[in-house]
Amino acid sequence: MNTNSNSYTIIYASVMVIIVAFVLAFISSSLKDRQDTNVRLDKMKQVLSSLNVSADELRDPEQAYQKYVQADQIIDMNGNVVSERGGFDIESKKIDNQLPLYVCNVNGETKYIAPLYGAGLWGPIWGYVSFNSDKKTVYGTYFSHEGETPGLGAEITTEKFQSQFAGKLLQENGKVKLSVVKNGKVQDSACEVDGISGGTITSKGVDAMLQNCLGKYANFFNK
């Protein structure tokens, strides 16, 4: 057979594309349920990580989530609770006027968790910040990223970076105080956190993300 003729080439390409399309569509739809479950469990893990829940408990995220999180509220821009449930289903990157707020119970104390979403150097970065019931002090944080540079910007996922936030001042009169500054340039240690040396743009991204996302909660903070 002449594999160089025009008609053979066109038919070959068409058949190939159709087969590939079917294979990919089939695989994607048959794995969709499992993938969605994994994404859900992973989100639970991320939320709980900001509460400093131990890795042992995180092995069963579903159960740990039931144990710690009492409500995934939706609040509006005025800080009023719109719904007791449903905050979990709002994707962090699509947060607009409806703000998710997790109300949690850790050893009898109430903690709140707010989601964060912003831009790093190469792609999106996101995280969760948990704070005490006085709405003023940070309890714990969790940050993650899609593709920051390993060894530099990607260090925001490390315990070393995240543990700096605990106990810092979150906000004052609704103005977000918590910030990330250039490594070694901390002046007010009550609310400033050391950035990552060599990961300046990612650190700035974390700072901007804290300002933007937590800024929307201003009315809730003042309540």
């Binding site: 594999t3 160089n4 053979y8 080439t9 070959y12 390409a13 190939m16 594309v17 590939v20 294979v23 990919l24 695989i27 994607s28 794995l31 499992r34 993938q35 994994n38 994404v39 469990l41 992973d42 190469w122 792609g123 899609e146 593709g147 540079t149 390993p150 060894g151 530099l152 040396s197 060599g198």
Partner: protein, 211 residues
């Protein structure tokens, strides 16, 4: 036909040394710079490329007699992209943590020059079994260089290996400092050049003749 004939062994082993895809053929340099600032991503990337090159080589080798010459590069690209997408979907469903770690690297595999290089240079002319060996060999050869570069960059740049602290804390108290330059991309090129330099000085066959 013998499965492990002398020629097949050669097909498998030369990419690890004398015909290394990175240090001799100078393919796949771009990704070698991007993923080697830590040892772990280097390992993961090396392993994923090995699997994908081997599979793609086999598929192309099976199809090689039917592929129209004028669109062969497109066919190769479609096969690679399909395989990469399938692997990433399966990982997302069955090993979510691994897929999160791989995130961007999976996409990088499609653009890896080693894949196209091996498909075009080897799989189009050889049978499936030889192509499989060639794919595994080339992938491992690539992984080897990545791991060497990643080893030095993580050790000297962060003082850790696979995120375990290797250089003790007390060394820092006596004034030892991590070399920040190691984590930046230029250092990957310099280490790569040192590897090529070393390899060529040991193997006169690889040196260009001065006329």
């Amino acid at each position: 036909m013998e499965l492990f004939s002398k020629k097949n062994k050669e097909t498998f082993l030369t990419p690890l040394g004398l015909n290394n895809p990175v240090s001799v053929q100078v393919l796949g340099i771009c990704s070698a710079l991007a993923v080697t600032s830590k040892l772990e991503p280097a390992l993961v990337m090396g392993l994923s490329v090995t699997i994908i090159v081997a599979l793609a080589n086999v598929v192309i080798s099976l199809l090689r007699k039917t592929i129209p010459n004028r669109i062969r590069i497109i066919v190769q690209l479609v096969v690679v992209a399909t395989l990469v997408t399938i692997v990433s979907q399966v990982l997302k469903a069955f090993a979510y943590d691994v897929s999160v770690q791989l995130s961007v690297y999976v996409g990088l595999i499609i653009t890896n020059c080693i894949l196209m290089g091996r498909l075009e240079a080897f799989a189009m002319q050889n049978g499936p079994w030889e192509s499989f060996l060639d794919g595994v060999g080339s992938g491992l050869g690539y992984a080897l260089i990545l791991v060497i570069v990643g080893f030095f960059r993580e050790l000297l740049g962060s003082g850790t290996l696979l995120n375990f602290r290797v250089i003790p804390e007390c060394a820092y108290e006596y004034g030892y400092l991590n070399n920040g330059l190691m984590v930046l991309p230029p250092m990957a090129l310099i280490i790569m050049a040192c590897i090529i330099w070393y390899q060529r000085s040991k193997n006169p066959d690889l040196q260009e003749k001065n006329n």
